[in-house]
């Protein structure tokens, strides 16, 4: 959910909308914001599942330290979504376990 109105910060500043794809579904994002913010705003809370037990994980620290929010972005696994800005057309996937690296050619 977006914080549209804020008593101290005022109304949500207007920014350009970029579209990203999460597990094949298109969602809007505010230009320049981290992937994690766009996902939470869209109500997506499970970012990955763990290697051994397949347990769900989402953001914990939001400042790039804990790596609980890593996802596969444009084919590259283990990208910290809380500190990686969105880009138009970015393809984001819920990461299963340690993720899969793209095939080396």
């Amino acid at each position: 959910m977006r914080v549209e109105e804020h008593p101290i910060l005022g109304p949500l500043p207007k920014t350009e909308t970029v579209w990203i794809e999460v597990d094949g579904k298109k969602i809007p994002a505010r230009a320049g914001e981290p992937i994690a913010a766009a996902l939470l705003a869209a109500g997506i809370r499970v970012f990955r599942t763990t290697h051994r037990r397949g347990e769900p994980r989402g953001p914990f620290c939001a400042v790039g330290r804990c790596t609980d929010c890593v996802m596969t972005v444009d084919g590259v696994p283990n990208v910290r979504t809380c500190v990686t800005p969105v880009r138009e057309g970015m393809k984001i996937e819920t990461q299963r376990g340690l993720g899969r690296w793209p095939e080396l050619k």
Binding site: R2, V3, H6, L9, R30, P34, F60, A62, V63, C66
Partner: protein, 368 residues
């Protein structure tokens, strides 16, 4: 690897400590580069929207993000180079290994100030890894910086200042906060913050703890219980809340990796959040020319980080050959302000802890 860069003073971390250090070193005449892995400088001040306390020279009555904006503007005006999107991954003598905009290179300096901050502590209980359980600072980042509410119904763990402030900020952003859970018998934060959230009708459960969190795939409910005088949960006192956000405000740990790698001597210091590098009154570590400031030198507040940064910046510039004309007076004034910030029931423990760290540093120096 791109070309190696050289400067006189390098600062790692563009939060209050790092920017303050950079400004002081620059004003003393040194060429200064600040590296910060984030997209914008300002550190955690950028998400602080409450007003600071204290006296005028400690920015009382001003909001953190405004202080960050002014510091950044002052740095730019004075000619400090601010390298954002630049990660310092290692330190090799007086050279930093960096990745700037995705490209690896190095930055060599005569002196280096580490101002890398701290990270939030976690708390272990069944269900603590469920999505929806996060650091209080993380929730603050999402709300105040990215304007996203990470949950609609929340419970907070920890009634220190961070826990009390996030409670109020969640309310400001439109969330419902069902309570603040605190294991200690009394509230740890300032009475002003506690009064504010009580007026808003949020109960503070002192002498309570989280028993477990549960949910299908993500957080749905949390059970808390009262504690007896030995700290054990009292059977029958359990209470369950249907929530989608649990914020943990249970302290911070200094981010000291670079100081460890550089070979600094450390001391474990509970009141300062964990292992902190020994440092002098000038914030110099046991590695000559390597200085520390802010939360990484012992977890405190933004106001103390600004003063420690100033001390470190002045000393780092002097080490690099730029002695400020009023160096001793300026350092004495910063120390006096620091002491004022470390007084009273909230500050005295930190004052004594820092004194001890400096004593250990002196002992190390005298034994050389």
């Amino acid at each position: 690897m791109a070309g190696a860069e050289v400067t006189e003073v390098a600062v790692v971390g563009g939060g209050p400590a790092g920017l303050s250090a950079a400004l002081a070193a620059r004003q003393a005449g040194a060429k200064v580069i600040v590296v910060d892995e984030n997209a914008a400088p300002g550190g955690q001040l950028r998400k602080q929207i409450h007003k600071f306390f204290g006296s005028k020279e400690h920015h009382a009555g001003r909001r953190g993000f405004r202080i960050a904006e002014e510091l950044v503007a002052a740095c730019r005006e004075q000619g400090v180079e601010l390298w954002t999107d630049t990660l310092a991954y290692g330190i090799f003598d007086h050279t930093l290994g960096i990745v700037r905009g995705g490209t690896a290179s190095t930055l060599a300096a005569r002196s280096i100030v580490l101002a890398t901050g701290a990270s939030e502590n976690a708390l272990a209980f069944p269900g603590c890894t469920l999505p929806g359980v996060m650091g209080a600072g993380a929730a603050q980042t999402f709300i105040n910086l990215h304007r996203v509410l990470p949950g609609r119904r929340a419970l907070i763990v920890g009634a220190g200042n961070v826990g009390l402030i996030i409670t109020y900020q969640l309310l400001q952003a439109g969330a419902e906060v069902l309570g603040v859970v605190e294991a200690a018998p009394r509230i740890g934060g300032y009475a002003v913050h506690a009064a504010k959230i009580r007026r808003a009708g949020v109960p503070i459960y002192t002498r309570h703890t989280v028993l477990n969190a549960a949910g299908h795939g993500e957080l749905e409910e949390v059970t808390i219980a009262a504690l007896d005088e030995n700290g054990w949960p009292i059977a029958g006192s359990e209470r369950t809340f249907a929530i989608d956000l649990l914020c943990l405000a249970v302290g911070l740990t200094p981010l000291t990796e670079l100081a460890w790698q550089a070979g600094c001597l450390f001391e474990y210091c509970g009141p300062l959040g964990g292992h902190v590098p020994l440092h002098s009154e000038d914030m110099e570590t046991t590695v000559p020319g390597l200085f520390v400031a802010g939360d990484m030198a012992g977890v405190e507040e933004a106001s103390t980080a600004l003063e420690e940064g100033r001390l470190a910046g002045l000393a780092a510039a002097a080490y690099a050959g730029y002695r400020s004309p009023n160096l001793e007076e300026e350092k004495a004034a910063a120390r006096e302000r620091l002491q004022a910030l470390r007084s009273g029931p909230f500050g005295e423990g930190r004052y004594l802890a820092h004194e001890e760290i400096v004593r250990r540093w002196l002992k190390w120096r005298d034994a050389r």
